[in-house]
Symmetry: C2
Subunit: 663 residues, 2 copies
């Protein structure tokens, strides 16, 4: 018996797969946007996997300095490799970049610096700088955040003063807290930066503007005179990136270096105000949709690793004492893990929906027919809530997955800690939870009050059309038995009721506090959460129909039922408001959730296999497709630098005297 154990893990995972009744390839086609796209994606990831430098996954052995320096090597190879392989499509470049497993110092150059030039530069500026930026002749940072100011951009203290005589801006960091702090690539890599500064014209503050500032010499990379620049030190994640600081001591840039597409400063110092730019929503929605897609993929990776580990790992005698439980057998493991599989699916469909609507808006803009702005504004507002919810739940979910893998989840080679470190920053960047839920809740309030005309075809606010019915305190949920709470229509209605009632409470509280947003902030968070969960449940419920009828579709529908029931159990107080759900109906929901666990378990490995991540993409000893996790752990431990010698370096100096001397 004991001897066989060594091969039990792969066997158990195979057995688990064999026990399912869905074809993961059918699921993959939907999750990965069709077979052709998926094959191409795998080809591109394979190119990275087979590259001698770009396939490196040894970041866990390196400190921040070493990761940055190895990252430079990767950047150099990556740029060359894209050229050699003639990969010019941005999406394809993005797939290969993601396959590197960690963001590098050119991240912000590509994701923020170039797009800023594209979107905020005028024709002349774009003609001048874009070719240089796109070929990495100039390397740019995006310097907005300061030591003292992050999300409140209007509070930034860097100053730009226009000198009519020389037609130059004088950029200055007048205070301790005004130095730029955090921008990725600013510390050691970038030789230029888009710098946000408060512009003064003839002593008059005309608001925050963006300037292209050269910060290092193009000859020898030394900081230019008047510029203090460096790295802010190690962080929780992104340690291959040189997040930096920078202070400006009255340095001068030509007038032409202010981004002039919207606001302008004429040579004589006249300020031309920008026209309102509704197109800005397009960019923001695009960024959000990509972020939501990233949440889906990160959650999917963590769920895949943890599901496989839970199937392959045994721990704890069965009651008959004849064998050991697979960790996946435990009710608690299923109860904690399966909602994360559901979140990955729900986020995927939400991302797809956002991207489709973004693309539709682009078409409208191109054709010039129709009003895209209102729709995109709604989409942007509600996506704030989605982003806030997913950033928190996916980060927490990855960390929960790590804990569900016990001790082996604690090793870096399992890769769950790394996934967490790289995603958890999303709680802070692109808007913190508190800022986003306010935007979201305030938008819903406006929509409710009729300040915005409701559009019946807008799914996100459809529940407002029946607001009165939903808020009627006499309304009761109709679910008569536990199975009823697996019904998607019943669940969606329950979430509509909940979202409507919390919103009504907020509207009342805002009135009672004279619109004191801060006094209503806890309630705003609840409103945003309630609506985000409604949207995600609907996204997954609608997503079910994208699978061909059959077992696969049925299996995703079951996952969706589990998602809905689980969400209810997480916020029972809301659903019990005015007894919409009765005390005994709550028990039924809990029963239904527990009933669904073994049903979802039947296909849980296949539902995660369906994401079709390669072992290289997962980068996890304990999440291997073949379940050979123990050999993988040993193999990876052999790579630890401490194991290069039998006796550690400090032995002679520190250990030997301790052991052999008299203390």
């Amino acid at each position: 018996m004991a001897v066989e154990l060594k091969d039990l893990a792969p066997l158990l995972l195979r057995k688990e797969r064999a026990g399912g009744d869905v074809d993961p390839a059918v699921l993959t086609n939907v999750l990965r946007d069709g077979q052709a796209a998926n094959e191409r994606r795998k080809h591109l990831v394979g190119l990275i996997e087979r590259h001698p430098v770009l396939s490196d996954r040894d970041m866990m052995f390196r400190n921040h300095t070493e990761r940055y320096e190895f990252g430079l090597k990767k950047v150099s190879h990556f740029v060359q490799f894209l050229k050699d392989q003639n990969i010019v499509d941005r999406n394809e470049q993005g797939i290969m970049y993601a396959a590197l497993g960690e963001p590098l110092c050119i991240d912000v150059h590509n994701s923020m610096f170039i797009p800023t030039l594209e979107n905020q530069g005028d024709d002349e500026q774009r003609a001048k700088w874009l070719p240089l930026a796109r070929t990495y002749k100039i390397l740019g940072a995006y310097a907005q955040t300061e030591l003292g100011h992050g999300s409140n951009v209007q509070g930034i203290e860097t100053v730009a003063t226009y000198d009519k005589a020389t037609q130059e801006f004088i950029i200055d960091s007048p205070t301790l807290t005004s130095r730029k702090w955090w921008p990725g690539g600013l510390g050691k890599t970038a030789n230029h930066a888009i710098v946000h500064a408060r512009l003064f014209l003839d002593g008059k503050d005309v608001g925050v503007q963006a300037f292209l500032v050269q910060i290092r010499s193009m000859e020898d990379h030394q900081p230019l005179p008047g510029i203090e620049v460096g790295d802010i030190g190690p962080k929780l994640g992104f340690n291959a990136i040189d997040n930096g600081y920078c202070a400006f001591h009255k340095i001068r840039v030509p007038r032409e270096n202010m981004m002039m597409r919207y606001a302008k400063v004429l040579p004589d110092g006249t300020f031309v105000k920008p026209k309102s730019d509704k197109l800005v929503y397009l960019t923001m929605v695009h960024v959000r949709a990509n972020l939501v897609e990233n949440f889906a993929l990160t959650m999917a990776k963590a769920a895949t690793i943890t599901t496989r580990f839970s199937a392959a790992r045994i721990q704890g005698r069965t009651p008959d004492n004849k064998g050991e439980f697979q960790v996946l057998d435990y009710q608690n493991q299923q109860h904690k893990l399966f909602p994360f599989i559901a979140i990955s699916y729900a986020a995927k469909f939400a991302a797809r929906d956002m991207m489709a609507r973004h693309d539709a808006a682009v078409e409208i803009v191109k054709s010039g027919n129709g009003d895209f702005a209102a729709k995109l504004a709604t989409l942007h507002a509600v996506s704030s809530g989605l982003k806030a919810w997913l950033a928190e739940k996916v980060s927490d979910g990855v960390e929960s997955c790590r804990r569900l893998c016990g001790g082996h989840g604690f090793t870096q080679s399992g890769n769950l800690a790394h996934l967490f470190n790289e995603i958890v920053g999303a709680n802070t960047f692109e808007g913190t939870f508190d800022v986003l839920v306010q935007q979201h809740a305030r938008y819903l309030l406006k929509a409710l009050s009729g300040a915005k005309t409701l559009d019946d075809s807008e799914p996100a606010t459809r529940f407002l059309a029946k607001f009165k019915v939903l808020c009627d305190p006499k309304l009761r949920c109709s679910g008569p038995a536990s199975e009823a709470f697996g019904d998607l229509n019943l669940l969606v209605e329950a979430f509509e009721v909940r979202a409507a009632r919390v919103l009504l409470a907020l509207a009342k509280q805002m009135k009672a506090t004279n619109n004191d947003g801060n006094a209503c902030m806890v309630l705003m968070s609840r409103v945003s959460t309630a609506h985000a969960e409604l949207m995600l449940l609907e996204a997954l419920a609608n997503g079910v129909s994208s699978f061909p009828p059959g077992r696969e579709q049925h299996s995703v529908a079951q996952l969706c039922s589990l998602f809905g029931a689980w969400l209810v159990t997480q916020s029972i107080g809301d659903f019990r408001q005015h007894d919409y759900l009765s005390s005994s109906q709550v028990d039924l929901v809990r029963d239904q959730l527990v009933c669904l666990l073994p049903i979802v378990r039947k296909n849980c490995v296949l539902l995660t296999d369906a994401w079709d991540f390669s072992d290289f993409e997962l980068g996890s000893t304990i999440g291997r497709y073949d379940g050979d996790i123990y050999r993988a752990l040993m193999k990876r431990a052999a790579d630890e630098p401490l194991n290069k010698t039998q006796v550690p370096d400090g032995y002679e100096k520190y250990l030997k005297p301790l052991i052999q001397s008299d203390l």
Copy 2:
């Protein structure tokens, strides 16, 4: 205005302190066990702070290998320093060790190896090995966990076979998964280990026993023949420790190396079964009490850092547009942060209570009068639930604190990420959540069924005495208005009702499933959580009276009210079962919680100052006592090795070709 900003942070923190009306020194006396103990503690921490090597806090710049190697240096200095300073008391050594800021490779030698010799060695074994171990002549690991088995100790696969002819045990690792995996200090440091192996005598399995095994040469530290040993690689935390693996290839140890205090093997191979050892609970309760104390201190550190940062940091215009909000002004910030201050206080009182009861039991053992075993068994069982709850909530709380500090929380120099990494492992070691909540819930079931005689003086199970009343579905909470939900007696009763009802539901479900524990596991978790929260709320409510009457006592009572109200809002479903709380009473609880936020805010900085951590202990740029956080961030960034040169090492090789060549 802008220029003044540079000094605003310290000013705001001072202002916040000045706005409070409690004397933190009065609180400190209670939290830190009296003035004398606190002064001594500060003196001991000061010794570390002033030591040139032991004060090192540069771990964030190091990878695992470097941290281990610098750790060896620290170990060598630490041992010498204790001797030089003549610090012999274990508690005092513990205080100084904790002040090092990270556990080192001798951690397990002191916390597990020596205690095992003390508790499981017979007189001869102790006389032989303890003097060597205590003077670090032998360095030990505690090798229980294997690659394939963690919490299920009965499943371990390492084998010991007794060879009568030579009176030796043959220790062997027969399978891949049988190699020891995880033990701290085993990888590169230890030359001996307590090895747990399944013992076979004449082919008969007599269960898992502990053996002292030499693994490295005392001459040159090389692994002994037949031993494969090494480091398992980088982990989420504890990277100064060489957690190791070890495989035994039929190595031989003398019969005398089995721990013989309880079970014995005679020279002829006869097995002498151990007598039941109730004293084992003493050790376990002691370990748990220390762990709970550690949860309290870690939560307190994170809450201190975050409260100070929230007071010193401004972000976001006030509605009148005249200034900026302190982050602490935001309702959401208060709502998320203040419960963590309450948890630190509650855990402190729970730990003190456990330690007092442990000490009382030691007295009973010494005097030989009275039955300590039943009480300690209860204490051990309920402490499982406390440990499970606190491990999860404190880890999550530290991470929440980190997110509450925005971008600056993401830098390592804020120290919140490090605190998280060092505490989150407690979710796994000393019993995972799932194992512990089952122990806890099963104990309560037994107590309920009368299998255990209830002791009225046992506070943890006092609620069972009025079980029927509490479970009466007609019972309603009496709270008429929101202030009622600040009343500690009312809150405690509500938590008793909740704990009783969930336990009743579990008892029914166990019956319905024929005692299938796994089928009831989700409910067991709820039972354990409900009872743990009752115990913690009571611990804090009782702790209030340890403060002298006056503003300080009042202030802690307010914190306790907030804790209770907050806990209710986290599990409304339980409290609404059978409408014990009505829908409108839940609204009252929420109102009360929001009302308490500004009240607790008034003293929140002082409530955390009261822990009296030095800046050295907090090790945080953003949690400084004086609020000078921005200068601290800059100063720490200057220590980043990348900043030693203006131009990074990889420039000539990787960046320059990229910038200057034609791509």
